[in-house]
């Protein structure tokens, strides 16, 4: 893992670590239900305990997303969302909060704008970097070049199915943190956190990652508490999107507060 001291994501996680807790990372789609509302929701996230914010770009073919996020991003696109607006959302949040703001995006919209141009504009907007669910380091030469050039974080994913070789390769290619998917599957709220997550975090640490955050299916303060015991950060998505959908900015703030209550490390259970 490139240890670029300029990594905003790493800095945010380290701040939480210094407070003796895991970092909270909240996901929200840009432009849902509209651009301003998504900025407001992001600010509410940051003000209520999120250390990092993941802003998703609504995309026509979100193969890693479950029904909640699909519905939200489909609605955003139907409401006229344009990809370039994501920079407004990032800028709008970073302007008033300290949270590190990453963009999570499927790869084609970045490719379409041009990887260099996208990176430059993201950096200008104050963004920390990109989380790339359908880009593996094997295909990422251009992105690695651009992210180095603009000092952006590169958050690649690791999965329970990743081999030791791939873990190591992915850890090396990442900067900021490594995203460990808790389960084989897609986004969406689940009853319980998969048992495979803890092992994956340990393996990823063993492969050299300093910061490993866990996401996919994390939705309750109990999940957060469980994961915070072994991971450097906890990523919540669908549950927050559902909160926007059902209660708007206030609901996001409230849920974030509830979730962040679970962050403080408790003694490992026997």
């Amino acid at each position: 893992m490139s240890e670029n001291t300029a990594s905003k994501a790493a800095a945010a996680i380290d701040r939480a670590k210094a407070e003796g807790r895991a970092a909270l990372i909240g996901y929200l789609p840009a432009g849902y239900p509209d651009v301003q509302a998504s900025i407001d929701a992001g600010i509410a996230l940051a003000r209520n305990g999120a250390d990092l914010i993941e802003i998703g770009i609504p995309y026509s073919d979100p193969v890693m997303d479950g029904p909640v996020i699909q519905a939200a991003t489909t609605e955003a696109i139907a409401n006229g969302f344009r990809v370039a607006s994501v920079f407004d959302v990032v800028a709008g949040i970073t302007a008033v909060t300290d949270a590190a703001v990453l963009v999570m995006t499927y790869w084609n919209p970045v490719m379409r704008m041009g990887v260099d141009e996208f990176s430059r504009r993201l950096a200008e907007a104050g963004g920390a970097g990109l989380i790339t669910p359908d880009l593996i380091p094997d295909e990422a030469a251009e992105w690695i070049e651009a992210s180095d050039k603009y000092g952006l974080d590169r958050v690649f994913l690791v999965a329970p199915s990743s081999t030791p070789e791939r873990l190591e390769m992915t850890v090396k290619a990442s900067r900021g943190f490594v995203y460990a998917v808790s389960i084989m599957g897609i986004t969406g709220t689940r009853q319980a956190v998969s048992g495979s997550a803890e092992k994956l975090v340990a393996d990823t640490h063993a492969a050299g990652a300093e910061r490993v955050c866990v996401g996919l299916g994390v939705s309750t303060p109990e999940h957060v508490r469980e994961i915070a015991a072994y991971a450097d950060g906890v990523i919540v998505g669908s549950a927050l999107v559902a909160a926007v959908r059902d209660g708007g900015v206030d609901a996001v703030g409230k849920l974030t507060k509830d979730l962040s209550a679970g962050l403080r490390r408790e003694p490992a259970q026997a």
């Binding site: 026509s60 073919d61 990809v83 790869w107 084609n108 094997d138 295909e139 999965a159 992915t170």
Partner: protein, 413 residues
């Protein structure tokens, strides 16, 4: 369709072939700058397993014998090459031959690929296969192979396609498959693939994704082509037997491009043989409602491969439209993008109106109803430009020649 304004002296493919090199047996993951694995990490191990199993099987005489036996005794191969004499008369004398993939068991070329992959699924110890389907042909073939080999089968099919291809839904169900209507997005093939990928990433442990066309992440394009190469191999031998010479041209319709690549492959190195691919022109390319990814798309990534893609300025996929459910796909297999770029395959969109008015002022509607059953239209589209520049990935070395750097295509959709 604009008429070509000038013909380049020699295209990259000619130069390449005349150097004595081969365009056949490209192994992937890249075809020029196309292909690759633009896929979630969760699926990489599964893709590696498929690739590994496929490569071992290809080299295993027992597997090849088993596949040949099924092709012969279950699918009914070789399929006929039928001369369409009355069509020839109508078309001014050119001898026209139809490769009859429609006579295979289950009614299309799809069975070739499905039997191969279903055998691989068994080799991998998978107990369940999933598939996407547009027209329903691939779904029917998948349900059939699953029933033959005792595998559970779930088929994802756009709700719109379920409606317009209801008969095939019934056939799949009769064969014991579960058909899941997909109500996302355009409710057609692309969305069915999205849902199949969501299923795969969730159930990859016991499930093989039996992708139905020569697209998707490596090794699918090369693997699906391999299982369909029998089309071209037979056709080449049959035309030599029936006419004593190679054809002037071969052509096929291109949805994802599996029947086309299967046919074209045997002729890629025969530089005297012109190759035409016909994309679905939908309501006419000028309406924007079509599926002409190569002709009018621009490179992008969808479903795991970089290839020509119908997309808007934001990189959002544009919904495709085709009067044929089987061609309703906004991208295309990566090897086709490469072959079009180097000028080996000429691609033309075809629609009821434009196809007819291009060749015949009487505007008789022409429709694609069968794989490989298409006219050797003389009109070709403007010569394709050469590949766009692309970083050569470090992990895999491309088996195909590096493309010269040329200006990006000016068209975009």
């Amino acid at each position: 369709m604009d008429a070509p304004t000038s013909k380049p002296e020699q295209n990259a493919a000619d130069a390449f072939l005349q150097g004595g090199a081969s365009l056949r047996n490209a192994s992937g993951p890249y075809f020029g700058s196309y292909g690759g694995r633009w896929m979630p990490e969760s699926l990489i191990a599964a893709l590696d397993e498929v690739q590994d199993t496929f490569e071992k099987a290809k080299a295993d005489p027992e597997f090849i014998a088993q596949l040949n036996d099924l092709n012969k005794n279950y699918s009914g191969r070789p399929s006929l090459l039928t001369e369409a004499k009355r069509f020839s008369q109508h078309a001014g004398g050119a001898r026209i031959f139809l490769k009859r993939e429609d006579l295979n068991h289950t009614g299309s070329h799809k069975i070739n690929n499905v039997l191969g992959q279903a055998l691989l699924a068994k080799r991998m110890g998978k107990t369940r296969v999933i598939a996407e389907t547009g027209a329903g042909q691939h779904g029917v073939a998948s349900a059939t192979a699953a029933a033959l080999l005792g595998l559970e089968c779930v088929v994802y099919m756009g709700a719109e396609d379920c409606r317009r291809q209801a008969l095939n839904v019934a056939r799949m169900q009769l064969l014991g498959a579960t058909v899941v209507p997909v109500t996302n997005g355009s409710q057609t093939l692309k969305d069915a693939i999205n849902d199949a990928l969501r299923d795969w990433v969730t159930n990859v442990e016991n499930t093989h994704y039996l992708l139905g066309t020569a697209a998707g992440a490596h090794p699918f394009p090369a693997m699906v082509r391999f299982f369909h190469e029998v089309i071209g191999e037979e056709a080449r031998a049959q035309i030599l037997e029936q006419t004593g010479k190679l054809p002037d041209a071969v052509c096929a319709c291109i949805g994802g491009g599996s029947n086309a690549i299967g046919l074209f492959h045997a002729f890629l190195d025969d530089s005297s043989v012109k190759i035409y691919g016909f994309e679905a022109g939908g309501d006419g390319v000028e309406t924007g409602r079509h599926a002409a990814a190569i002709t009018l798309g621009r490179p992008g990534v969808l479903h795991g491969a970089r290839s020509y893609l119908m997309q808007d300025e934001d990189g959002q996929t544009v919904e495709s439209h085709s009067i044929s459910a089987g061609l309703d796909y906004p991208s295309v297999g990566p090897e086709h993008s490469y072959l079009a770029d180097i000028g080996r395959v000429s691609c033309t969109p075809t629609s009821p109106i434009s196809a007819a008015s291009a060749t015949n002022p009487s505007r008789t509607p022409k429709r694609w109803t069968r794989s490989g059953s298409c006219a050797a239209l003389k009109a070709s589209c403007p010569p394709s430009s050469l590949p766009t520049p692309w970083p050569a990935p470090s992990r895999w070395a491309s088996a195909l020649p590096k493309a010269r750097q040329t200006p990006r295509r000016s068209r975009s959709s």
